[in-house]
C-alpha cells in the first residue's frame, strides 16, 4: 500500500522559515531587488490593474472621410502621449487637430479610430510582513522570506495589517466584549477568544486597532467583519469555539511582539490561508514547514467537526477497516489521544494535521 497523506495541514509553528510568494494580478513593475530587506507596509511591485480606454474618432475630429483621416494620424500603437498632445492633424485652413484628453498610451489603432489607454491609480503589492526578497521574475512575482512564528487560521476578512499583539480577556474561550476594550488597546492587534456580537468589533474600530485574532465568530458576524477596516482572523471556525491550545499558547507567549496579519479569506480551493506571522530572529537555518504530512502514528492533529471540534491530539492508531459511527456513517478512522477527552475514534476525513 502506498503511503497515505493528510492533505489538510494547519501550521502552528513557534519558529520556522516563512516563505511567501506575492503576485500582481497582471504584469507590472517590480520595485525591489533580491536580497533587499523590506517592511510589512513596503510596496514590492505596482501594476495598472484597471486602466480606462477612450476611442478618439479621428475622422470626426478632423472632419474628414475615414480613409483620408487615417493619413493624418501622428501616433503609433504603443506610443506614450501627454494630455493635450496632438494625436492627429492639423488639417485644413482651420488647422483642426485631435488631441489626447489625458496622459496615456496608444493601445490600438483601428481604421480611423485611436484607442487611448489612460492609466488609473496603480495597484500596489505589499510585502505584508518584514522579510528579505529572495526571488522575483521582475514583472509580477516577488518572493519574501523571514523566520518567526506562524499561526494559520481558517477564515479572514480580506485585510492586512501589522501591529503589536495584546491579549484581551481571560482565556481562549472568553467572549470579546465591549467592557474589555479600553484606550490602552489603541493601535494594537488583539488576541481574544470568541465573538458573538457586533458591538465589540465596532468598538475596536473606534480604537483604531490593527487587527483581531479570534477562535471563532458567529456566522451572522461574517458580513460585519468583512466591512471592518482592520483584519480579523478566525483560527477555528464559526460558532463558539475557543482558539486551539497550541495557537493560544503560541500567541500569548508572544504578547508585546509585533505580528503581521494577513486575513485573506482562504477556503478549501485557495492555496493561501489567513495567517499570523510573528517575525523572530533565528541563529540557525530553519526548514519551511511541510505542506502535506504522512498519515502515521504520533502526528499531531486537530478535529474539524463535532463532537470534539477544535480539540487537539495525537494519532495513536489508524484503523485498517472502516468503522461505523453513531450517525450510521461508516468511514475509515484513527484513534486519537485528544487533550482533555482521552482516546477517541475520529474519521480520517474529520482530521487535519497540526504542525
Amino acid at each position: 500500500m502506498a503511503t497515505q497523506y493528510l492533505y489538510n495541514v494547519t501550521h502552528v509553528v513557534p519558529l520556522t522559515t516563512i516563505r511567501r510568494e506575492r503576485k500582481l494580478p497582471v504584469p507590472g513593475g517590480v520595485s525591489v531587488r533580491i536580497g533587499q530587506r523590506v517592511q510589512a507596509s513596503d510596496i514590492l511591485a505596482e501594476a495598472q490593474v484597471t486602466p480606462r480606454h477612450y476611442f478618439l474618432d479621428i475622422a470626426r475630429g478632423l472632419g474628414l472621410p475615414d480613409r483620408e483621416a487615417v493619413r493624418h494620424i501622428r501616433v503609433n500603437r504603443g506610443d506614450r502621449v501627454e494630455g493635450g498632445e496632438v494625436v492627429a492633424g492639423p488639417v485644413g485652413l482651420s488647422r483642426r487637430t485631435v488631441r489626447a484628453p489625458a496622459d496615456g498610451r496608444i493601445a490600438a489603432i483601428s481604421g480611423s479610430r485611436v484607442l487611448l489607454e489612460v492609466e488609473g491609480d496603480p495597484y500596489g503589492l505589499r510585502a505584508g510582513f518584514p522579510g528579505v526578497v529572495t526571488a522575483t521574475d521582475g514583472t509580477q512575482v516577488v518572493t519574501i522570506e523571514t523566520t518567526g512564528a506562524l499561526i494559520q487560521g481558517v477564515w479572514g476578512n480580506g485585510r492586512q495589517e501589522f501591529g503589536m499583539m495584546r491579549l484581551v480577556g481571560d482565556g481562549p474561550d472568553d467572549l470579546l466584549q465591549t467592557d474589555k476594550l479600553d484606550i490602552n488597546l489603541r493601535g494594537a492587534v488583539l488576541i481574544a477568544g470568541m465573538c458573538d456580537h457586533p458591538a465589540p468589533l465596532h468598538q475596536a474600530t473606534e480604537l483604531s486597532v490593527r487587527g483581531v485574532i479570534l477562535g471563532s465568530l458567529t456566522s451572522d458576524l461574517q458580513t460585519v467583519a468583512q466591512r471592518l477596516p482592520y483584519p480579523v482572523i478566525v483560527t477555528e471556525g464559526f460558532g463558539r469555539l475557543p482558539i486551539n491550545p497550541m495557537a493560544y499558547g503560541l500567541l500569548t507567549s508572544n504578547i508585546g511582539r509585533e505580528a503581521a496579519l494577513d486575513a485573506r479569506p482562504g477556503g478549501p480551493h485557495e492555496a493561501d490561508r489567513p495567517e499570523v506571522i510573528i517575525p523572530l530572529p533565528s541563529a540557525r537555518e530553519l526548514e519551511v514547514p511541510d505542506e502535506v504530512v504522512p498519515l502515521t502514528r504520533g502526528i499531531r492533529v486537530r478535529v474539524l467537526r463535532a463532537p470534539h471540534m477544535g480539540a487537539v491530539g495525537v494519532i495513536q492508531a489508524i484503523d485498517e477497516q472502516a468503522v461505523p459511527f453513531p450517525s450510521g456513517i461508516i468511514a475509515r478512522a484513527a484513534t486519537v489521544d485528544l487533550e482533555g477527552f482521552g482516546q477517541v475514534t475520529v474519521p480520517l476525513a474529520n482530521l487535519e494535521a497540526l504542525q
Binding site: V26, T50, G237, A271, R305, P326, G328, I329, P347, N350
Partner: protein, 586 residues
Amino acid sequence: MSTMLEADTLLAVDVGSINTRASLFDVVDGRYRLVATGKSTSTAGPPLFDVSEGVRNALDQVRSITGRKLVDESETLIIPATRDGSGVDVFVATTSAGPKVRTVLVGLMPGVSVESAHRLAASTYLDVVQEIGLMDRRREEEQIDVILAARPDLILIVGGTDGGAGASVVGMIDVTSLAANLLPEGQKPRVVYAGNRTLAASVVERFGDRTPVSLTPNLRPAIDQEDLEPARRVLSEVIADARASRISGFDELSHWSGGHLLPTAEAFGRVVRYLSRVYDRRKGVLGVDLGASQTTIAAAFDGDLRLSVYSDLGLGDALPGLLRHCEIDKVARWLPFEMAEGDIHDYLSNKALHPSTLPIEPVELHLEYALARQVLRAAIGLARLSWPEVRGTRGAESMPPLEPILASGAALARCPKPGYTVMVLLDALQPAGVSTLVLDPYSLMPAMGAAAGVLPMASVQVLESGSFVSLATVVSPVGHGRFGRPVLRLRLEREDGGETVEGEVRFGQMVVVPLGQGQHARLTLRPERGFDVGFGGPGRAGVLRVTGGAVGLVVDGRGRPMRLPVETVRRVELIQKWMWDLGAQL
C-alpha cells in the same frame, strides 16, 4: 493493439472536488460488470494542485482489490492490456474539480441567442462574469474596460441566424477582438464562436493570430431552432484546457483517455438522455448529482436533454450559496427536531470551510440531509424553468411524469439507510405519480456517460447490472385533503405468488409495502376524487407492473405540492413519524 470492438477491460476515473474515483469494468459471462472501485481524496486543490496523486491512490485501491497491475514503473497507465493481465483496454476520464471557467458572453438578442448561450453556460462549468449584447447601453470603450477587468478564460460569442444579417455581430466582434488582443500574453482568453455560420471566417480574421478562435456550429441556426450539443463539445475541450493550465495532472489524464477528458456533468447528462430514449418515452428521466461544489440536474424527455449545473448549490464549499436562494427556515423545516437558525448557519459555514468532513453524530447527520434536501429543492426549482412542457404534468407546481429518477453524489451514496435516502429524495424532488428511485452508490453515471462514446455496450450493460440500487417504486398522488382523509386504495399482487396486499392510504401517511429488489408485482391504484396518480386525471384508477427496491413500494400520501405544517411541534412530530414509517430512524 486491441480495437474498440475487441476491448474488454474498461477503467474509468472521475476527479471530483472532494473525491477521486476509479472504477474497473470487465466482461463477465459475456456482459460488462463493475469489478472494483477505488476512492481517494482528490488532490486538485491545495496544497498539491495536482490530480495525479489522488488518481494514483484510487488506482492503487483498485489494484489491491483485483491484483491487476494498472500502471507501469513510471506510473504510466498500461494501455492496451497485456497478455499477463496488466493494464486496461479502454480508459475514460471525467472531472468536475477545479475552478469554473470565467466567461464573457457576447451575444445579440436577449431572449434569443443570449438565452441559448446562458442555457449552454449553465449546462457546464462556466461562470458568466460579464455579458455584452446588442442592447448594451455602455459605450464601446466601456465594454472594452469591462472585458479587460473580467480577465476571462473564455469569450463565448453567439448571435445571428445562419445566413442572416451580420453587421450587428461584426460590430460586437470588433470591440471584443480589440479587448482580447489588449490582454497580456499568458492571459489571453480562448474564444469560441457559435453564431451566424457565414461570418465565421470574418471572426477568425478579426481576432488574428494572437487570439485563437474555435468555431462551432451556430447554437441558434434559426430563430426557432436551438442546438447546444456541438458547442458543448467544444466547450469541453476549452474547460479541460483551462483546468490543465491551473492544475497539474489533467494533461496526463487527457492523454490516457485519447484527448477525451469530459466534464462530469456532460457525461452524467449523456446517460440520462440515453435512458430517456430507452424507457417509457411519454415520461421524462431525471438525474440529480449532489456534489460538494455543485449540483447537477439532468432531465431528458425523449432524447431532449436539459442539463443544469449549479455551482452555488452544493453540500460542501458551495453551501453558503444556498442562502442566496432561500432563508435558513427553509432548511430548519426538514429537521426532526427544533434547532436555532444561528446554529444551522454556523454549521453551514463550517462545512464550507471543511467540505470533506463527515457527520458522525445523529444531530449533524439530520442537519446535513436537511441541507441536502434544500440544496436539491433549490436546484430542481431553477432547473424546471428550462424544461419543456410535458404532457401529463398536473399543474405548474407539480413535477412532470418521471421514470426513473437517478440519484448520485457522495452524500446520497453514504446515507446510512435506504429509507433515509428515499425520504430525502421525496422531500427534495417531490415526484408526482409513479416513479422509481434509483441510487448510484458508486458514482458510476459519469463513467457510463464517458464510456458511451467508445464502448456503448458497456454503458448499457452496467446500467442494467446490480451496480445501481433500486431504492423504491414510489406512488405520489397529486392533490390535497384534510389529514386522515382517504387518498387511495391499493392492491399489490406479487408475481412470485407471495401474499397479496390490499389497503387504504390516508392523507398525511407515508406507507411502505415490502417488495424486494428484483421482485415484480401487479399494482392496482384507485385514487379518491381529487387525487391523481397519473392514470389520466384525478380519481382515475389503473393497473401497472412495478418493481421492488431496497425499501419496497412507497406511497407518499402527503400530497403534491407538499405542504408541511407551519407549527413546529406538529411538523417535527410528523417528520419523525414519516422517518419511522420509512425505516429511516437512526
